[in-house]
């Protein structure tokens, strides 16, 4: 579940909740601690953030002036990423994002260049910045949960499992021909996908969390990485199509 960044009533950017919230909080801290001027970035209300692009541009210009007037490296470092992101927000809102005659210290230049290289923020509607993490989770969910569950049910229905339930299923389906078993397979697959969909949908509502560990050691609430986990399952480039 992401945030909606809006200007003039229209959504122009949907960052993940973590990055959107960080950006808003940075704005508020810099407003209070340094400029005493409004940043043009509203509070988060019902997952929406309203951006006044004129105010934001003035705010960024003032920050750059403060940094440059004192050659202030600490502030350039601490606020550099925020300034780069704010410039990108202005660009995405199709507002004036140029600051002619203003020098950009090295940390801010590096941050701006990093975002310019990023496909995430280059398109009109940005791709999810956590795409790789989501891919890893989707692949894990498909190869460790969905596919083994389908295979197990396939064997169960055909009497290839020797447990109590396996014997019961074997008895139930012993007179079914291949076409009928194929229909049972399809129904089983549908049931498994429905469970996965409901599971992901409920995780999206934050009633419980699915913590996922990708390549590092840290567990991440996977719902924070997606604008809608349940929606990642289907579609032509969804997890089922790609990884199952």
């Amino acid at each position: 579940m992401g945030l909606n960044f809006k200007t003039n009533g229209k959504t122009f950017f949907q960052p993940s909740r973590i990055y959107g919230t960080l950006f808003v909080l940075h704005s508020k801290h810099l407003e209070e601690l340094l400029t005493r001027l409004p940043s043009g970035v509203s509070d988060i209300v019902s997952d929406e953030v309203t951006i006044d692009t004129e105010e934001l541009r003035t705010f960024i210009k003032l920050l750059l002036q403060i940094i440059n007037s004192a050659n202030n490296r600490t502030l350039a470092v601490l606020a550099g990423g925020y300034i780069a992101m704010a410039i990108d927000v202005l660009r995405m809102a199709k507002a004036d994002a140029e600051f002619p005659g203003v020098d950009f210290p090295a940390p801010i230049r590096a941050a701006v260049e990093e975002l310019e290289r990023s496909p995430v923020l280059r398109s009109g509607r940005p791709r999810n910045p956590n795409q790789q993490l989501l891919n890893n989770f989707g692949q894990c969910l498909m190869t460790s949960v969905r596919t083994p569950a389908i295979h197990e049910m396939h064997k169960m229905i055909r009497g290839e499992m020797k447990g109590q339930t396996g014997r019961l299923f074997s008895e139930l389906f012993k007179d079914f021909d291949q076409d009928e078993l194929s229909i049972i397979d399809q129904a089983t697959e549908l049931a498994i996908d429905t469970v996965l969909h409901k599971l992901l949908f409920t995780a999206d509502t934050d009633r419980f969390r699915i913590m996922f560990r990708s390549t590092g050691v840290e567990y991440i609430n996977i719902a924070d990485a997606s604008d809608g986990l349940a929606g990642e399952l289907y579609t032509e480039d969804g997890w089922i199509e790609r990884f199952s």
Binding site: P15, I18, Y19, T21, L22, F23, L25, H26, H29, L30, L33, L34, R73, T74, L75, A76, V77, L78, A79, G80, G81, Y82, A84, M85, P105, A106, P107, R109, A110, A111, E113, E114, L115, R117, S118, V120, L121, P129, N130, Q132, L133, S214, T215, G216, V217, E218, I220
Partner: protein, 130 residues
């Protein structure tokens, strides 16, 4: 008025108050959003106590998340904060290396910037007056 950063009772850095406050607030923001402790204490009488072991773990986790997901937005938004934290670890003489983790470009540039910054060097010891 400055904000004093301390480790084990020793002053490691004196920051201009707004910048020190910005760092502390960023620590708390990231703590809350990622749900793990930063090791950066609350401000008490213009002093902030840092637990360098916890701060190192905190930064290692952030770097791993950035490295693992190639997350440029996060590298950009948190790069300055991470660089400042690493600089504080260095000033404290604590572990500040992160072997096996690639440090993203904005963080490397920010670190280089801080290395040349006079106001981030350790405070000079006060003379005894004799």
């Amino acid at each position: 008025m400055a904000l004093i950063f301390k480790v084990g009772g020793n002053t490691i850095s004196e920051q201009v108050r707004p910048f020190g406050l910005l760092f502390v607030r960023q620590s708390k923001d990231v703590e809350r959003l990622f749900e793990f402790s930063s090791g950066v204490g609350d401000i008490v009488s213009d002093e902030v106590t840092i637990d360098t072991e916890i701060l190192w773990s905190f930064i290692a986790r952030l770097l791993q998340i950035i490295d693992g997901s190639n997350n440029r937005t996060m590298a950009t938004l948190l790069g300055g904060y991470i660089a400042m934290a690493i600089n504080l670890l260095r000033l404290a003489g604590a572990k500040s290396e992160f072997p096996g983790i690639e440090i993203a470009s904005p963080i490397r540039v920010a670190l280089a910037e801080l290395e040349g910054s006079p106001n981030l060097r350790p405070p000079r010891p006060k003379r005894s007056g004799l």
